[in-house]
């Protein structure tokens, strides 16, 4: 599974948070107070022992530090780059209370894990004896990888099945390149494969689900979310290839086949994916990138630091604006918009007579993904709640005890680290459930 980022793409997307060198890492590590019951650790969905791994960096034990991280979070390397640390570990750092910069936990974590992997470090099995039980993980994104790695480390036989040619899910296809390159995501997948997890590329449908259920002792659903919601505007069909789904746009440039976006780009939506797409469009050469959002600045779903980053990249914002129609003309597309007002309950009303148009070359909707209802509704006994797979939070078990689930398909699209935490909890749930069943049968 060799994959190299093209030099052109690499040049457009240098690291947003550059790597730390060893000396800087030791200096930063020594700033850590080593809090007891540290808030950073409590704020991390995977509860990495942050003071523990930082202390090991300070003491020159970088491989031990990496093992501490990877023991809690097998995707610790990618999380160190993609986590919104401002609202997680670093946001919880007590140094804020002293009006000091928080410890750069994300960059220290990246230093430890990358130094470890660069020196040939590998994940280790926790137990020598092989177990016979077989588990299928559907989807090869962060949730499935975390689930698969934990189960394999405990000696179980694990298969990961994904419809896309490259494993890694959104880590490979969907993260802004200046945070995580596809090649780095794939290196991490190789670590999981190195444990003895087997990967297959194929579609899973109703028929194959039945087969999987027969062949495997447990199934983990880490299927993520489905396609981007359709942009509901008049005459969208006339725009043709000018409307580019943000996730497809991001996946295409990340895997070496960037789509043509022209000089003038409009992104619809104001979530983190919209910001990623807007910044990428800017870096790929668009002269103007306008982000159109139907509500106000204070309502955006994107993190504040992502919004600030987009401003620095030169993205422009149009608030309280709703697209209503797209038409094509000689020079490109014409997006018709209307101003909207919002009442106290968040209800939006279009303002008659406020229509205006924006001329552009591409419209990139980033208005949220829909759940994979078609697939999930075929899983026998698994129940859904508001478009999410219903699970027991502590174990990831669904209403059908043989099925477990985690990641975006249960949490409605959170962060990589949340998917990892879900996957690991489910792995522990699966292991407990399988071992309890084994005892029942032998007893």
């Amino acid at each position: 599974m060799e994959f190299a980022t093209s030099p052109e793409i690499a040049q457009c997307f240098p690291d947003l948070h550059p790597a730390m060198d060893a000396r800087a890492a030791v200096v930063e590590a020594n700033r850590c107070l080593n809090c007891f019951d540290a808030p950073c650790m409590g704020a991390c969905p995977t509860h990495i022992d942050v003071p523990g791994f930082i202390r090991k960096i300070a003491a020159g034990n970088v491989s031990g530090s990496a093992r501490t991280i990877l023991d809690a979070n097998v995707l610790g390397a990618s999380c160190s780059r993609v986590c919104p640390v401002e609202v997680l570990c670093e946001g919880a750092c007590v140094l804020h209370g002293k009006h000091q910069k928080p410890i750069e936990i994300g960059r220290l974590q990246r230093f430890a894990t990358e130094t470890f992997y660069d020196a040939g470090g590998r994940l280790a099995l926790r137990q020598r004896d092989e177990r016979t039980q077989r588990i299928a993980c559907i989807g090869a994104g962060p949730a499935s990888l975390a689930c698969a790695a934990e189960l394999r480390q405990q000696g179980f036989q694990v298969h990961v099945i994904d419809r896309r040619p490259l494993p890694g899910g959104l880590n490979t296809y969907g993260v802004a390149e200046y945070k995580l390159r596809a090649a780095d995501s794939l290196r991490e997948v190789e670590m999981v494969r190195g444990l003895g997890v087997e990967f297959e590329t194929r579609d899973v449908d109703a028929a194959s689900l039945e087969e999987l259920e027969r062949e495997y002792d447990a199934v983990f659903l880490g299927v993520g979310l489905g396609a981007m919601h359709r942009l509901e505007v008049a005459d969208a069909h006339t725009a043709g290839a000018g409307i580019i789904d943000a996730l497809k746009f991001i996946a295409a440039y990340k895997t070496g086949t960037p789509l043509s976006i022209g000089r003038r780009v409009v992104v619809i939506g104001a979530g983190n994916t919209a910001i990623d797409a807007a910044c990428a469009a800017k870096r790929l050469g668009a002269e103007t990138v306008t982000l159109v959002y139907r509500r106000q600045r204070e309502n955006i779903p994107a993190f504040d630091f992502e919004y600030d980053h987009a401003l620095r990249e030169g993205v422009e914002f149009l608030w309280a604006t709703l697209p209503t129609a797209i038409t094509a003309n000689d020079t490109g597309l014409v997006l018709t918009c209307v101003a909207v007002t919002q009442d106290a309950n968040g209800h939006l009303t279009s303002q008659p007579g406020s229509e205006f148009t924006i001329e552009c070359d591409a419209v990139v909707p980033a208005i949220g993904q829909s759940p994979l209802l078609e697939l999930l509704s075929q899983v026998r006994g698994v129940t859904m709640q508001r478009g999410r797979v219903a699970i027991d939070r502590a174990t990831g078990q669904t209403a059908n005890p043989k099925y477990f689930a985690g990641g975006d398909c249960v949490n409605d699209g959170r962060e990589v680290v949340d998917a990892v935490a879900d996957g690991k909890r489910a792995a522990l749930g699966i292991a407990d459930w399988l071992l309890a069943r084994m005892e029942e049968h032998s007893g």
Partner: protein, 468 residues
């Protein structure tokens, strides 16, 4: 501005800051640059028959990514001819008559050798002599340096030889590598020494290279114990300075030049308060250069002005009366720790330090709900953090977490001191990373001061009795 001029047993200098005998005083060119930078005096790198040095020579201890908390060396005395050093001393004194040049000397332990060396040095114009009886490495193997300074009889005899011919003040430099430094100081005093300097460097091995298994500093795969100095040794030096200055057996104390980990004006002030007449600096200069003396002069002078000290004599030895034996301390003085909730950042280092390392009286058991005032109900200790299910907070999905309590730090993270159990040990206030957050507050006991000596007046508790 305070008057910093110094008179050390007749050696005059514009301020009490002298460079210690070491690489910074190796040559006349260096000493003159040091005087230009502001140093009041310099003790010349020890003069004697030139030696051959090894490479490497220094190693150090870093602390929390700060360099050179402690420095160790295996360098010997000067490697330059005696006549070169003496010619340069004469040149320095010609150009800087108001600055103090003290020659550090070390020769073989014969009367003739010492007599000749003293005369030649004084003829060159040195303002005083410092007898190097302290060098702990190399020279001691040849019967010099610490080999003399560790034996009171040798110290006394050689000092007497020197005093037979010396016309300038004679300082004896004391080694800390003895059981009781006062015994050596007394020997020097008995021999008529005009002053002392302390401490010389401490025997040390700074560390082992974990790849080659060789100690540092590495000399072709091996090393030797060296002399330790720098910020790490200051507490040891202060204690020995106090011991020497408070010792009145065999006569009154004589002027002492304080040495050991002095790097700024505050360090210097502490040595002066324990009775030193001048201070000597080496490691800080080897780290940052001669320029640091500017800060030392400025800081000391500002502090003296602020405290109404016009001259160094006004403050010298002021802390000596405040050092006493343990048995004289007041047993009825009670302090307890108080945590300022408004300053607490919730690191809980005080809790774990007290819990594991002291007296188990700082608790993390404040309730997480609303409380009435800052006195709180005590909930059961919380479950350990790993068990909690936590997700990335997303504004669209999660209401912001409620902040608990009236302080910037959530109440559940602010530890609580059980004052009835607190022994007032200070540990929590030492580990607390926030200035003034944990203070030690006196709790009046209503009891008259009483020391152990008073309480056990009837009992004899002086020396341990060993049964035979």
């Amino acid at each position: 501005m305070a008057d910093l001029t110094t008179n050390f047993a007749g050696i005059h200098s514009p301020n009490p800051f002298w460079l210690a005998s070491a690489p910074p005083t190796n040559t006349g060119e260096q000493v003159m640059r040091a005087f230009d930078a502001g140093w009041g005096g310099a003790v010349w790198k020890t003069i004697g028959e030139p030696i051959t040095n090894v490479s490497s020579r220094y190693s150090s201890i870093d602390w929390n990514a700060q360099r050179m908390m402690g420095l160790n060396n295996i360098e010997l005395i000067t490697d330059r001819p005696i006549e070169t050093n003496l010619r340069e001393i004469a040149e320095v004194k010609r150009r800087y008559p108001r600055h103090a040049v003290i020659a550090s000397l070390m020769v073989e332990s014969t009367r003739e050798a010492w007599h000749e060396m003293v005369k030649r040095t004084e003829d060159a114009g040195a303002d005083g002599l410092e007898l190097n009886f302290g060098c702990p490495h190399g020279m001691s193997e040849r019967g010099m340096g610490a080999a003399v300074g560790q034996v009171p009889e040798y110290t006394q005899r050689i000092t007497e030889w020197v005093k037979e011919v010396a016309r300038t003040p004679v300082l004896v430099k004391l080694t800390p590598n003895v059981t009781d430094i006062r015994v050596i100081a007394r020997a020097a005093r008995r021999a008529g020494a005009d002053g002392l300097s302390a401490i010389n460097t401490i025997n040390s091995i700074t560390g082992i290279d974990l790849e080659s298994f060789s100690p540092r500093p590495n000399v072709d795969g091996k090393s030797s114990h060296g002399g330790y100095c720098g910020p790490a040794v200051k507490p040891i030096a202060l204690n020995m300075v106090q011991q020497v200055m408070a010792d009145i057996i065999d006569g009154p104390s004589i002027p002492l030049s304080g040495i050991g980990g002095i790097g700024n004006w505050q360090d210097a002030a502490e040595f002066l308060l324990l009775g030193c007449t001048s201070v000597q600096v080496c490691t800080a200069v080897m780290h940052y250069g001669y320029r640091i003396v500017q800060e030392m002069i400025d800081g000391l002078s500002n502090w003296m002005d602020a405290n109404g000290f016009a001259t160094l004599n006004d403050l010298r030895g002021k802390s000596l009366s405040k050092v006493t034996e343990w048995k004289n301390l007041n047993l009825n003085y009670k302090i307890v720790a108080r945590i300022d909730e408004a300053l607490c950042i919730g690191c809980q280092l005080c809790h774990i330090a007290c819990w594991d390392g002291a007296h188990q009286c700082i608790h993390v058991d404040r309730v997480s709900g609303p409380v009435d005032g800052h006195v709180e109900l005590h909930a059961q200790p919380r479950e350990f953090g790993r068990e909690r299910i936590v997700v990335t907070p997303i504004p669209r999905l999660d209401p912001p977490k409620a902040h608990v309590g009236p302080y910037a730090t959530s109440l559940e993270r602010i530890p609580r001191v059980d004052e009835t159990e607190c022994v007032g040990c200070n540990l929590c206030s030492l580990v607390c990373p926030v200035d003034e957050c944990i203070t030690m507050v006196e709790i009046p006991t209503g009891l008259a001061p009483e020391s152990w000596a008073e309480r056990s007046a009837a009992a004899e508790c002086t020396t341990p009795r060993v049964s035979e």
